[in-house]
């Protein structure tokens, strides 16, 4: 490194240059030289920029779907290894060289530190800081390598009440878990509605029974009042009585007994039972569905459809629900080992569950099926190494920044 360092720093007012380490020769000399490290860092920067500009991995297929004309040049970029930069051999080789360069540089700086008895305290602090920062980056790179070779990442997708004893990896392999994982419950929590808003409920604004005589330009609108007969006289010589006998908001029918019941108070499948009479004779009695106007219960049951003398529709106007934003979505998980519950915990984004080296992260859910959840499973032995690397890097950067401030202050 010494061959590249000036005796006088490039910026004279700031601080003196750090002590020049003794020159090395051969491979070690090249690896520990600052010029080599700078070229390497520059090459990594260029590779990273390219990787953010060129579609990577699975993005290529997506990009081709939107831009079919891009196929020829994407093919050329793929041939050059630029569509999988971060997993390419040359990028990994550059990171390996960086690790070797850091190691060589640390070895030389350690020598200086051990012989630094005569150096001012501030400069020793800088040396320690530089060493720690380099060691931190090296550990982070080592952690990355451990992750590539030893970590498992996968998914679990199941519904409430179901259990699994394995997970599917990103390579589509089935890996066993050393325990059974059950999904006890899945829930979505929303932020409370603002004052005056009715949260997440469909509200009925208006409903009416529309009756239209064949050939008439417009339909007549009758109120939906249970048990109260309404007069409908479309032509001068004929008067009908239309009576709403029953109204349900969430229609379900027992196919065996043909019994109709209301499953909930939510406006899921609103329907009314209507009787049409002429004088004292019942002409027809029929369920009308707001969402399925052409549906005939009799036809479904294999009976003769009841013809109506005129067209009838049940119309419901609803107010869209005020859907407040989602605050959290969480799965309550139960860990079972040898038929014994060893753990039960609710997990959500930012609050995973860790058991025996496996960590389960809340990943996704299905708005149409709120009993279903998707979890990410990770077993990553590299995390302690990488976190130690981060701590050393931060402490090292702190010490060198302090040294620069202090050295600058001395220079003033």
């Amino acid at each position: 490194m010494s061959e590249n360092i000036e005796a006088k720093p490039a910026v004279p007012a700031e601080q003196p240059a750090p002590p020049a380490p003794p020159p090395s020769k051969g491979v070690l000399g090249v690896l520990s030289s600052m010029r080599f490290a700078l070229w390497l860092l520059g090459a990594i920067v260029v590779a990273c920029i390219v990787a953010t500009l060129v579609p990577q991995g699975a993005e290529v297929t997506e990009h081709l779907q939107h831009n079919p004309n891009a196929a020829p040049w994407l093919k050329r970029l793929a041939a050059a290894g630029l569509t999988n930069v971060f997993s390419s051999w040359w990028f990994i080789a550059m990171l390996t060289l960086l690790a070797a360069s850091l190691l060589a540089c640390m070895a030389r700086r350690s020598k200086i530190l051990f012989n630094s008895a005569g150096l001012p305290k501030a400069e020793r602090m800088n040396l320690v800081g530089t060493l720690l920062a380099h060691a931190g980056l090296l550990l982070t790179l080592v952690g990355g390598a451990i992750r590539i070779f030893f970590a498992d990442h996968g998914m679990i997708q199941f519904r409430e009440g179901e259990q699994v004893d394995c997970f599917i990896t990103e390579e589509n392999q089935r890996l066993p878990l050393p325990f059974v994982l059950q999904l006890v419950k899945f829930e979505v929590e929303r932020y409370p509605a603002a004052h005056g808003d009715k949260q997440n409920d469909i509200e009925v604004q208006s409903e009416a029974l529309l009756v239209q005589w064949p050939g008439a330009a417009e339909a007549a609108e009758l109120p939906v009042t249970i048990g109260a007969p309404q007069q409908f006289a479309p032509v001068s010589n004929q008067t009908y009585q239309v009576t709403v006998l029953r109204r349900v908001t969430d229609f379900v029918v027992d196919t065996a007994t043909r019994e109709v019941r209301n499953r909930s108070e939510a406006m899921v499948n609103p329907a009314i039972l209507v009787r049409v009479s002429a004088a004292t004779n019942v002409v027809a009695e029929r369920w009308l569905f707001a969402r399925f106007p052409d549906f005939d219960m009799n036809a479904m049951a294999g009976q003769e459809p009841q013809p109506l003398p005129f067209k009838m529709n049940y119309q419901v106007m609803v107010r869209a629900p005020v859907q407040t934003p989602i605050k959290a979505f969480r799965s309550t998980l139960r860990v079972v080992k040898a038929d014994r519950v060893v753990r039960e915990q609710a997990i959500e984004v930012n609050a995973p569950l860790s058991v025996e080296g496996y960590t389960f992260f809340q990943s996704g859910y299905n708005e149409q099926d709120l009993a279903w959840t998707s979890l990410r499973v990770v077993r990553d032995p590299s995390v302690p190494t990488v976190y130690t690397g981060f701590i050393l890097l931060c402490v090292g950067a702190f010490l060198t920044a302090c040294w620069r401030m202090r050295a600058g202050a001395v220079a003033e």
Binding site: A17, V45, C394
Partner: protein, 267 residues
């Protein structure tokens, strides 16, 4: 209340900028002192503004573009003031930092919604505060380093009438703010990685924002090493600082608007 504090900060920065510009032509110490006092006042007003917003929202005000730009506008003057505490800051730099803070605040108030919105599940974490704060402090320091680098290049032209003292001062400021910013970008990347590991089970996924923050950190690491290289005199170093700040802008704004990734919510 909130808008009054915001406007007070804006007015203080504008006045500080105007006084610093006047100081360029009228060498009076009183102008320097008043400009610094106004910058401090603006910084305090913006600090109180963010504190009140924090209390109202029940979370750190760092979760959308408006809040992030305001935080950026908060860090730049404070880094500049911190510099003044350690060494003399030339009035040209005071004017430039105040101008940048004014532009950021004007942009935030004119083009971005200041509405306080609830956090999406992924952002409901204490790591949000540490990650965004450390990143934005580093951006503020790099912005000051960029301004110092530009001013350094201006005063170091052969035709410049500025004395060598100013030139050295700009170079010193550039180097110190890069060192300071580098510490915080390292902290920002580390806290972001730990947060990603807690939220998604992966501390690094080569997401465009992650990759560009790494590019920025590597460029500034190169700056810190280049200083000891033969042939890398001040002007080249100033160009590296400028290149680094271009990378900051791509990381901060370019990635959010032009690329898809895990940070897409930050627009």
């Amino acid at each position: 209340m909130l808008s009054h504090l915001f406007n007070a900060a804006l007015v203080a920065y504008v006045l500080a900028m105007l006084l610093a510009v006047v100081r360029l032509f009228v060498p009076r110490r009183a102008l320097d002192v008043t400009a610094t006092a106004l910058m401090t006042l603006g910084g305090v007003a913006l600090t109180v503004y963010m504190g009140v917003r924090w209390a109202q929202a029940g979370r750190a005000p760092f979760s959308n573009m408006f809040e992030s730009i305001v935080l950026f506008g908060w860090t730049i003057p404070w880094v500049s003031l911190l510099l003044r505490w350690r060494l003399q800051s030339p009035p040209a730099l005071t004017a430039a930092t105040a101008l940048l803070a004014v532009l950021l605040l004007v942009y935030a108030s004119a083009f971005l919604s200041s509405e306080i919105r609830p956090l999406m599940p992924a952002l409901r974490s204490n790591w949000l505060t540490f990650h965004v704060l450390t990143c934005l402090i580093s951006y503020g320091a790099f912005a000051v380093a960029f301004l110092a680098a530009v001013l350094f290049l201006v005063v170091s032209r052969p035709a410049s009438k500025m004395d060598a003292g100013d030139r050295e001062l700009f170079a010193t400021i550039m180097c110190r703010t890069v060192s300071f910013g580098f510490l915080f970008i390292v902290l920002g990347i580390a806290t972001g990685a730990v947060w990603a590991n807690v939220a998604w089970g992966t501390y690094w996924s080569w997401d465009p924002k992650e990759t560009w923050s790494l590019i920025t950190a590597l460029i500034y690491a190169m700056f810190l090493h280049c200083r000891y290289m033969r042939g890398w005199q001040e002007r080249r170093l100033a160009w590296v600082a400028i290149l680094g700040f271009i990378s900051v802008l791509v990381t901060y704004l370019g990635v959010n608007f032009l690329m898809k990734g895990l940070h897409s919510y930050a627009t």
